[in-house]
Symmetry: C2
Amino acid sequence: MTGSTAAERPRQRGPRGGDADTRGDILAAAAEAFATQGYGAASLRGIARQAGVDPALVRHYFGSKSELFVEAMRPLRADDAAVTALLATPAEQRGEAFIRLALSLWDDPVIGARLRAILASIAAVDDVGAAFAQVMMRDVLLRMVRPDHAEDRAAACATQIAGLAMGRYVLRVPSLADAPVERLAAIYGPTFQRYLDGDLDLSD
Amino acid sequence: MTGSTAAERPRQRGPRGGDADTRGDILAAAAEAFATQGYGAASLRGIARQAGVDPALVRHYFGSKSELFVEAMRPLRADDAAVTALLATPAEQRGEAFIRLALSLWDDPVIGARLRAILASIAAVDDVGAAFAQVMMRDVLLRMVRPDHAEDRAAACATQIAGLAMGRYVLRVPSLADAPVERLAAIYGPTFQRYLDGDLDLSD
């Protein structure tokens, strides 16, 4: 499992400062390619061509294909305003705030369309799914949870949100796909609240 | 979505009575083929050959490929002793009984090995995942839940158990994959208990 994404590692050389647009262009081309072609069929070369850059630059910024996948497809980044707002929410209200944020993100058609590509890639390629889970836990969930049993708490949140995303947006189970946000917040909010900040009744 | 599996529908003709072994042989060959080759690559013809029967007999018993997949890969059937025991458990203890049963099933290497094939097929083929979820809800979850908001309850259980299975057995997130059953029962038991039998705070 990767300890940090390539995009965050310091690099010894290469463009710095004016590279935000280039990184953004590569990420946009990658998200499009992964969502439409799938992880296996998308190539770093094709993504580079679409972004109008040299393939070496893609590797320079993002490292491996699986690292680029995680960076391009993740629905939240550590410095997103939504994450900052979530961390500013009082601990006793974060469960419902978290489910509301997740649903509002996925109801965005672009982000929602990525879910199937993510699920398919996770199923097809071992380390992509593990890397994806690890980055989302590190950047969002582990920062939200009570310090005791933090890994158990973050993992529990990840399992519940991943299962809900699969049921509502991929399999489209009727009682999930058709439910208004209020209904899902009432059902799932208390679960996240307990995982984030409640008593887990663990002996150690 | 299928209303009932082909295997349960009455058929107008064909062998009856002595056909339990044939059905079992077909299911065993199908489970092996789907788990090793994946849903897309496995063929009804190849499964029939492996089971030593005519391909027409596979269709006769199980209908479509996706119906055969669900029958062959499902971890529980409505008349399994484990389901009967679960239904005999007092409602206020079913949450923990359910998580313990699920973990004990998946810790079986054969059943555990099917999980990745199921996940990959769900990701690749729309109706397989929906049919799988629908059968497991009908045969197990909808029979376990409190009657009010039964669909919401069964779906909530399905999302949590699917996410936990993915994290523990497929992605192998360390805090899930390495956790003893007791620890997961303490964390997830109360969630299932509330989904199965608790107050969901829904207004309708």
